[in-house]
Subunit: 80 residues, 2 copies
């Protein structure tokens, strides 16, 4: 089972990397870029069965290793 | 308009960061993790109008700055 995890900084926290990318895009001539937020993306290939158990497992992975729950939020999408 | 960009290493290329995360998950007791691939995730807030023009713009951003087309692929999702 493929699971996609997207980890982003919580809203309101300063995203320095995003700000830098926004400035770089503007200096390259791209107009109308209001905001850029940067995050991490992970694709996990797991052999779990039920969707509920898999989601629970991946949530535990996020809390213990993949994300920093103090400053980051995560989104879990179960695939096929 | 919110645009989500996911940038991942091309399939077949060694993902050292993903391998390390896989090993860390296993050492934490998570079973059944077959593979982990790591990528970048970007949320762009743009003020463009048509979906076609926006996608074209973001593709140009990916090719010139956000991704390395030699080793990376990108996926663009237009939001609301």
């Amino acid at each position: 089972m493929k699971v996609r995890v997207t980890i982003t900084l919580k809203p309101g926290l300063l995203d320095a990397q995003g700000k830098t990318i926004k400035q770089a895009l503007e200096s390259l001539g791209f107009k109308g870029v209001h905001d850029v937020r940067v995050g991490k993306y992970l694709e996990l290939e797991l052999n779990h069965g039920s969707a509920g158990a898999t989601r629970k497992d991946v949530e535990r992975m996020c809390k213990t290793l993949l994300a920093n729950p103090v400053v980051e939020t995560y989104r879990i999408e179960l695939g096929s």
